[in-house]
Amino acid sequence: MRADLSRKREGWSVARRRRDWTPDLLTAPALVVMALVMGFPLLYLGYMSLHRWSLIGFAPPAFIGVGNFVALTGDERFTDSVIRTLYFTGLGLASNLPMGLGIALLLDQRFPTRNLLRALLILPMVATPAAMGLVWVVMLDPSLGIVRYLFKLVGVMAPPLWLSSPAWVVPTLVGVDAWMWTPMVALICMAGLAALPGEPFEAARVDGANAWQRFRFITFPLLAPTLLVAAMLRVMDLLKVIDIVYVMTGGGPGHASETINLYNYLVALSYDRIGYGSAVALVLFALVLVCTLALIRLRRAAT
């Protein structure tokens, strides 16, 4: 805190002597481009969300105030997609975090080939999601897919129909998402584990704490902030999930796997309801913002 203050004062006195324009000139090109591809589009999005707006046909955009947002509350397909997305996000967190932590604890141990395994673990998250989604479609095929075969191998004779079952489609997609992103949670946890101080563990060992007690009372509390960072990153992406859903189910069967983001895409760019779709996008943005800030606050409370 103190160091921070003195640094600020130092910066202030420099600024008073002579305004140094160098940093502004260095950031200007990047800021201009960001304003063009991000800032202005966001403002325009807000403007469009207040209009009835379509690209096909001759009707000019009509200002309707918050009409689109009011209409959203009565749009069952939208509210369903919100609930579904929250369900998706909840399942995702509930699977990713314990699995990621477990893998991290395993690969935190010292044994031969450990570093190779850590390196290989990055592969699922960098593999092109659209391509991998299709590979999973083939693997999950209800009659010929390898997943069905593996289930039969362990004695499950009538596994669910995965992507074709309205009840199972979301958990199945969460599974594919977990395949891609649990390794990221694991790697973040590993970084957190490597940074833990050694003394508490020594002390606990001297006091005769067993492995579970050391995990429960030392590792877990100390790692909580790291887990919250992982949770925050996952929440941001889970709430926005679209690629694998678009590729694997297109929102089906029926609307059983239609997430907010997919509904948003369909409404705005397939059904040509640009204004309405803009309103959906703003709501989605707000949802991500609120959830992320809540987790940031939680993390501050935890540290």
Partner: protein, 271 residues
């Protein structure tokens, strides 16, 4: 000693079992790309089979496929290069003069759903007849490559001792000279890692290309959708195309494996 051995053995087996499970779908995809349809549909599935290159031949027999590869390379290359040219000076300013406003922009970029930029960009590009052009695709990909570049490079630049730059400044070097002669050479490795991460993010991007490209400028992640038809699925061909798209990315990623998580925290805009 033997107990220790035993423990190590258990850990090795457990480690390979867990990581192996995560690698299995990739391995299965690569294997499948060399299988004939008969082998592919064999029940129970076969691990040993006579490999065929027929699937790859079919992928490249489609005259458009090389074009999609070219499109992906142009868009990812362009978005990476421009991201670097704009991002490097900004990262330097951020690392040395602490500009917090840029940090806020970066966080916003990480949180905003891609669709929030995509709808207005589509409308805007449409009104100037730019939908389907490389320019609009590259511009849209800057939404994630630029923040990613800045975020990654700030870390690398902060690791350079300040004295080196100060010495250069005292010797009469201009800020551009400092950047070109000191910062760039000293962070060469970081620049390479950053470029690779930006390239991967752009190469993998699906949604932006889906909306902003046309039949001529389609990139690979969009083109691969064409291999899954509703009446006839050429499974082997699909696996070959998926392998061809994914393998370069996997190879590049292994080169920069140490930096992957840092890059993902900065994040590609997903969705």
């Amino acid at each position: 000693m033997t107990r220790r051995r035993f423990r190590q053995g258990v850990l090795v087996v457990a480690g390979w079992a867990v990581v192996g499970a995560f690698l299995a779908p990739l391995a299965w995809m690569v294997l499948g790309s060399f299988k004939t349809t008969v082998d592919f549909l064999a029940y129970p599935p076969v691990l040993l089979f006579r490999p065929t290159l027929l699937n790859y031949a079919k992928v490249f027999a489609d005259n458009n496929f090389p074009r999609y590869v070219f499109n992906s390379a142009v868009v990812a290359g362009g978005a990476t290069l421009i991201g670097l040219l704009l991002g490097l000076p900004a990262a330097y300013a951020l690392a040395r003069y602490r500009r917090t406003a840029v940090g806020v922009v970066l966080l916003t970029a990480r949180m905003a759903p891609g669709i929030a930029f995509l709808i207005p960009l589509f409308v805007m590009f449409l009104s100037v007849h730019m939908v389907g052009g490389y320019t609009s695709l590259i511009a849209s990909h800057l939404i994630f490559t630029l923040p990613l570049t800045v975020w990654m490079m700030v870390g690398f630049i902060e690791a350079i001792p300040r004295e080196v730059e100060q010495a250069a400044l005292i010797d009469g070097c201009r800020i551009v000279g400092v950047l070109m002669r000191i910062v760039v050479p000293l962070t060469a490795q970081g620049i390479a890692a950053t470029s690779i991460l930006a390239f991967i993010a752009s190469w993998n991007n699906f949604l932006f290309a889906l909306v902003l490209s046309n039949d001529r400028t389609k990139t690979l992640p969009v083109a691969v959708l064409g291999y899954i038809g509703y009446n006839s699925i050429e499974w082997g061909t699909l696996m070959a195309a998926a392998t061809f798209i994914t393998l370069p990315v996997l190879a590049l990623a292994l080169c920069v494996q140490r930096y992957i998580v840092r890059g993902l925290v900065a994040g590609a805009v997903s969705g």
